[in-house]
Each structure stands twice: as C-alpha cells, then as structure tokens.
C-alpha cells in the first residue's frame, strides 16, 4: 500500500476517539466499493480455484492449501494445513467435516436452516454498509494477480477494520487483513499461489485421513434450530448493528444440549454458547483469551457457563457475555 493511501484511509481510525461521531456521520460508502464487495461474495461462491495461502497472527505464520470446486450439486471445498500438525477441513454444501489427526477426532457440523446464496447476500451487504464505511483503494499485486484494494472502516469501536485485495478480473479475494482500533494488524490471510478456474482434479477434494485408521472419535454437532428465548435465555442488549442470525441446540466438544446463539453485523459474527456447568472439569475461571482477531470470554450464570466467541474486539465480546440473561 502506498503511504498516501494509507494515511488517507486510516487517518480517521487513528484519531477515532475524538472524531468518531463526526467521521461516522460524514463517511459515505461509495456505491462502486459496495459493488466490489458483492463481487467478492459472488466469486467465493461461484469460482473454482486451487491454491496455497498463508495465515499470520502475531509471530505465527501457517501455510495451507485450499481447493474449491463448484459442481452442479453445489460447491465442494477442501482445506489442508501444510505446516505443523496436519488438519483437514472438507465442506460439502452446508456440511463441514473437520479431521483433526492430532487428537484422532472427526467433527461433523451441519448448519440447519442456512440461507442459500444469493438470498443471504442482499441482507449481508445491507448490514455491512450500515456498520462499515467501504472505500475503494489503489490497484496492487498479490500472488501474481492485479487486485482492487477495498478498505472497510468500522463506524464504531465495537468491530474491527478490514482491508481486502480482490482480483480485478474475477473478484476473487486474494488477501485480507484485520486491524484493531489502534490500526494495528491482528491477522491476515494471503494467497501465495492460486489457480482460478480450469480443470481441478476431484482427487484434490478427497479426505486424506480417516480412511487410514478406524480409531477416530466422531463428534457430530447434531445442531438443530431452537427457540432459546422460550427456554428463558435472552441477550438483554447487543452492540450496535449486531442482530441474531441463528439460534441452535447442539453438541460442542462432546457435551450435548448446548445452546448456541449467533449475532452478526454483516461481517463479524459473535457466538454465544450456553451449557450446564456440570460439563466443566475442572471448573474454569471467568475471563478473556485472545488469538489474532478472535476473542473468547467466559462467565457463569447460576449453574450454567456462558462462553462468547467472536472475531470482534474484546469490548464487544464482553458486552454480549454480560448481556446474557436467564428469565423465566
């Protein structure tokens, strides 16, 4: 990024505490920037591609290989980590299967009632444009592709800022950075090698593990839609722009009957998990942990534990956790 562009885009963020109300009122999303965001969503859904990307948070850098093939029956996707302990994720439609060879565990997760693309798109774009100011930046090269840079500035401090690099020709997202309220980099994804379109062998989508051994533990989330409000659980208030997008009962880490509420501002999601305290051995202490852009906060309510996970600032995550109530 050029210094001139950086200062133009990020100046309001740097002096956020003083200028926020003004900058939020003045800031306008350019229509062409919103169209770019729409192109990115569509490209993720419609394109077949195969490549290698790096994920960096703090001092850690991990390389992974990803393959995405769109077939008549829908998209199929496979992710394989190349550094350190192997891990493999396969998505077919709305089902995600995670192979964790280090713990010989297979996790199966299905999203009940997930709205298909593009039905969800209009809603998502509306939410994003209400909570972020989207601006077009310069043209920069990533992984050999010329990319349009997009900056998503948060309109308040309850969400993070993002910079996106999308291929000029296809709209494919090649690089994404997440910044905190001090404009410091929290994490980034970037393709180092990518092939868009063309024939991609089906064998690249096949799971490598599992077949090798029969001693794997299978954990099915068994997620079903639920009305947790009817069971007495509510979120008293939520950070501006976040609304409930899913409410489920599921299994997490082998513990069944866990309530799961998902809030989203169109880009960032915050999950609230509600589970019986009896499932915790030893009993944890309330508190916050962070990795990259993810914050996790845990606290007890009566004989239950509330765990809130989100790619949002600690302030938002704690806000949501503190707003969880049981009323009957």
């Amino acid at each position: 990024m050029t210094p001139a562009f950086a200062s133009r885009v990020w100046q309001p963020v740097r002096i956020l505490p003083f200028l926020l109300p003004i900058s939020a009122a003045i800031a306008q999303t350019e229509p062409s920037a919103l169209q770019w965001l729409q192109r990115i969503y569509a490209a993720t859904e419609k394109l077949s591609y195969s490549g290698t990307f790096v994920y960096q948070q703090g001092q850690q850098v991990e390389t992974s290989r990803i393959t995405h093939v769109v077939e008549a029956s829908g998209p199929r996707e496979r992710l394989e980590t190349l550094d350190g302990v192997p891990r493999e994720i396969i998505r077919t439609g709305d089902e995600v299967v995670c192979y964790l060879p280090a713990s010989l565990t297979v996790k199966i997760d299905k999203q009940p009632g997930r709205r298909p693309f593009p039905a969800i798109l209009t809603e998502q774009l509306k939410d994003v444009s209400e909570n972020y100011t989207i601006r077009k930046g310069e043209i920069e090269r990533v992984g050999g592709y010329r990319c349009q840079v997009l900056a998503l500035e948060p309109k308040d401090r309850m969400r993070y800022g993002h910079r996106l690099w999308a291929d000029l020709n296809t709209g494919m997202l090649l690089k994404a950075k997440t910044f905190d309220e001090k404009n410091e980099l929290l994490e980034q994804f970037a393709f180092t090698q990518l092939k868009i379109g063309g024939p991609i062998g089906r064998d690249q989508l096949k799971a490598r593990y599992f077949r090798e051994s029969r001693d794997w533990r299978v954990e099915d989330s068994g997620a079903t839609r639920a009305n947790l409000a009817a069971a007495g659980w509510t979120i008293r208030s939520r950070p501006t722009g976040f609304r409930t997008v899913a409410e489920l009962i599921r299994t997490v880490g082998g513990v069944g009957g866990v309530g799961h509420i998902v809030l989203s501002d169109g880009l960032a999601a915050i999950s609230v998990f509600i589970e019986p305290a009896t499932s915790k051995h030893p009993a944890p202490q309330p508190g916050l942990v962070r990795q990259g852009a993810i914050n996790v906060y845990m606290r007890p309510i009566g004989s239950y534990w509330i765990t809130v996970v989100g790619e949002a600032p600690a302030e938002s995550v704690k806000y949501v956790a503190d707003a969880v109530e049981y009323r009957k």
Binding site: R87, I89, S221, V245, P284, G287, L288, S303
Partner: protein, 172 residues
C-alpha cells in the same frame, strides 16, 4: 488416572507403567467402569455394536429433553449414560489440557473494567491462569467458524485459526 487408562487402551503404556496401571485397574471400581465405557465407545465408533443397540441408544438420547435452565439437575437412572459420556469427555479434556497449557496461540487478557478500552498484552503468556481452558476454546472456535460471515468471503480458509494452536500444542 483416566488419561493413563486411555493411553493403556491405545497400547501406549509399557513396562513399569503398564504393570502399575494393571494393579490400579484391579483395585479401582471407578477405573473399571471407565475401562468398560471406553471400550463401549471404541466399539461403537468401529461399528462393532449391533445396529439394534446403537439405534435404541440414539432413540433414547433423542427422547431425552434438553434441559437448558440454570437449575440443579435431578440425578436418576436415565442420567447414567450421560454421566459416562461426560466423564469420558472430561478425561479426554483433561489429557488435552495438560498439552494445551503451553500453547502459545492463545493469550490471557486482563479483565476489562467497566467497558473501558480493550487492552493488549505485549507478550504471549506461558499458561492461562484465568479464562477459558484452551482445549475448550478450540471446540468453541470450530463450532463458531461456520457462522463467521467473513467465511462468506474466504470460504473455509478461516478454519486455519485454531490450527495454529494445534501446532503449538504439538511443539510441546
């Protein structure tokens, strides 16, 4: 003790460790129950239990109402299977906890006071004295990931987030 048992069943105990554990297993009824449970779970996963039994268990579990209210739960015969599974899960978590405490990926953050600005810790901490036990963070993160709307732009790429931790765990 249960993590030893699990290692024993997996054939990872040898020599003195094996003899010592056999002695404990003979003397401790709780360990014996866990032994039975582990084998039952193992058999179920390998598909060696007749479908009839498995189907009945599944049907029974489906009938169990999901109690999601902060009240003391009644203990009864119907809770036994749950107890076994829970103790199995807990012992697996305990094994994982030993490994994960040295994971460099997650940082414990100081408590936020009264909605003040979030704070950043400069260096990773070796152990998480407070906060969520790391193996559970992994479970919650995986459960959260499909709903992360950034995945609408990045597909399943965001699943690498937890993987850095698994890698940290392996280094230990």
């Amino acid at each position: 003790m249960k993590e030893k048992l699990s290692a024993f069943i997996d054939g990872e105990l040898q020599g003195d460790g094996l003899h010592e554990h056999l002695g404990r297993l003979r003397a401790d009824p709780e360990l014996q129950r866990a032994w039975d449970t582990y084998h039952l779970i193992g058999d179920a996963l390998r598909g060696q239990i007749s479908l009839g039994i498995a189907a009945r268990v599944v049907a029974r579990l489906r009938e169990e109402p999901t109690v999601l209210a902060p009240q003391p739960q009644k203990k009864g015969a119907s809770g036994r299977l749950g107890w076994y599974l829970m103790s199995a899960a807990a012992s697996i978590a305990a094994v994982a906890f030993v490994v994960w405490t040295a994971s460099p990926g997650w940082r414990a953050e100081p408590q936020l006071a009264g909605g003040a600005a979030s704070t950043t810790v400069g260096a990773p901490v070796a152990t998480l004295a407070s906060g969520v036990p790391p193996p559970e963070v992994e479970n919650y993160l995986l459960a959260h990931q499909p709903y992360s709307h950034t995945s609408a732009m990045q597909g399943i790429a965001t699943y690498v987030r937890g993987a850095s931790d698994e890698r940290g765990a392996a280094r230990k």
